[in-house]
Symmetry: C2
Subunit: 425 residues, 2 copies
Amino acid sequence: MIRIGILGCGTVASGVIKLLAMHGESVRVQLGEEVEVAKVLARTPAKALALGLTEAQICSDFGEILNDPTISVVIELIGGTDAAYTYISEALKAGKHVVTANKDLIATHFQELNDLAAAHSVRFAFEASVGGGIPLVDSIRRTLAANRIQSMFGILNGTTNYILTKMTQNGLSYAEALAEAQRLGFAEANPASDVGGGDAARKIAILSTLAFHSPVSYYDVYHEGIAGITPTDIRFADQSGFVFKLLGIARQHENACEAYVRPALVPKRHPLASVSDSFNAVFITGDAVGEVMLYGRGAGSLPTASSVVGDLMNVVRAGRGHTAAALSCYENLPVMDILDSENVYYVRLSVQDRPMVLARVAGVFGKHGVSLASLVQESRGKDSAELLLFTHRASERELSAAMADLRNLDAVHEGAYWICMEDDA
Amino acid sequence: MIRIGILGCGTVASGVIKLLAMHGESVRVQLGEEVEVAKVLARTPAKALALGLTEAQICSDFGEILNDPTISVVIELIGGTDAAYTYISEALKAGKHVVTANKDLIATHFQELNDLAAAHSVRFAFEASVGGGIPLVDSIRRTLAANRIQSMFGILNGTTNYILTKMTQNGLSYAEALAEAQRLGFAEANPASDVGGGDAARKIAILSTLAFHSPVSYYDVYHEGIAGITPTDIRFADQSGFVFKLLGIARQHENACEAYVRPALVPKRHPLASVSDSFNAVFITGDAVGEVMLYGRGAGSLPTASSVVGDLMNVVRAGRGHTAAALSCYENLPVMDILDSENVYYVRLSVQDRPMVLARVAGVFGKHGVSLASLVQESRGKDSAELLLFTHRASERELSAAMADLRNLDAVHEGAYWICMEDDA
């Protein structure tokens, strides 16, 4: 008999309890032992009762779980970095395995908690912290472990992917698409963490930490959201053979790594381009495996519970024992300044439509060493026009300096730029 | 120090030796121990020497590996079911972990070898036996273990996917595309196992065995190849919103499962439709996780070696110990007769272009209870025409009976039919 304690009683916890009830017999046969939900830490007992739990299973004091020696696995589904951090640390120190779906915590405290688990010969599993039910964490840590992972491009946030899909397919503005997403439950009332890129930043931080064996924290990850993307951008990308996606991008170099979240133009024939609606996917390039893409539902009660219960089964199977500390951050690569990254860029400039503006704009790019690959000028009536252009590969430092200069020209009203994913990326 | 014995010296073995040389240090750090290639069993010592092995590392007698107590892991890369079966069995009985890329063997002897490993408390790993470097086996056995897998649709053979991609994109006939694939090394001189579906059948047998916890052998898997697909089929599928793919299809039912390989029309907006060239992908639906797709290179020296070395690292990490026998075939579902399966079908009939033929054809379908969803008649000049039609969902038994009757009509010259993947499949 495996007795587990579950912390929290929200969406994912209810999925875990439901899934264990649905497939209790299959879990029992696969593990050779029954899994019993011994205790659920619930702030609101009524919610726990509504899930079919008995009063005896519900507790409001973590000590009841921590100090119960018959509970061997703690599943943390509270989220955040405060109580969750304390509970997980104490559970590991008490010799209990821990499974968590907590991206906030893993994106900031991975190394410390992983080392703590190793020091106490217990397992610490967090497949559900990135990409919901998609087998990402285990694939990177186990199946692809013989690779040097060169790059990862991830659609890691379902809300923004839903919004960008609607902007692309139905011609909606950002505000209209966001409102629709909120109406249908794909975006929260306060969507800041999703649309601003913070949620995806946590996830690419976790993936980078594992893939590069380096401590990449959420705080190291530059991120930009999608609110500045206009229907003009979407249309011009489409005409040029691209679709907009919010990407978590990570690359490994000799002595450093990159990790950031940016809206990007993805070539239509790239596998990521057809990842629509609220689906997530990560495109990974390893030096042995070549290109791999893992696709699925990045959120939701049962998809996330699928990873949590999978982890639970795997920590039980693995049992207590020495965890190679080497799974930790032995490469220790620093995260590069975003200004040192290089990409191809798409730039949109609103300019006065009068002689010499184009020459002056081109001159500014040239002065900063940014070479242009193509440029289209579209009149907006009266004396206003938009310049839509692609650069050749350039450094962010040069491009952002050119954009700063351009915004100072009185002939330029507005300027925005996005990454353009190269076909061989 | 982990000393390993490698059986075979072909494409995958050379990839494994190369990869261990490339990333020896990273493997050492991750395992906390160095991996040493102790012995390579090579029929042609010259090939092994060309890989940089020393004479002392090369042997021609399996006994030198089997009887060396310092060798703890055997990597079998000979292929086939004869010598490989004997070597693997003996290695497991001798208490050595075994890693293999051998799809022929796993697709016919999984249960027996898995049980043998469990009986001797050693690990038996075969990630590379399906889908080259794609993390398929571990994802199904571990991360998705809490799901009831409802269905799998897999593009599991790179040769046929390359041929179908060229037929679709460049309008080539099957013979032309096959010749091009052979010229470029994507198809072997004798392509029978690839184009006939036998290779994909072995892979969907393995995936079904794992996903359904049931002994699905290659011999249980009905398979059809792609040679009968004509440019007319490709063009009509395109006009109707589909692309042709050779699919391994598996579904779990209450008391049985389906597993077969068939050419199929895949809706263009389905994620599998954009899996082109020699790439592989498997689209999995689980009752908790929903839809997951795993995509990558299904063959090749280094991609396959990526999975082999990943397995090697995982068996070393796991170490000796009790392997839950439950990972074996406890569900024991039988494989359904293909005639009991149900699908939507696309049918092409060459008919005499004269009055009443259409009525007679429709009458035959009606007599067998096959309901037609749409039908197009295309004249082929003189008195010849082609009927291209989609059925509603029908059983294979009814459809094949209808086709047999139709082929007996003197007005019907030829008839072929393919599966049409439903959008919600």
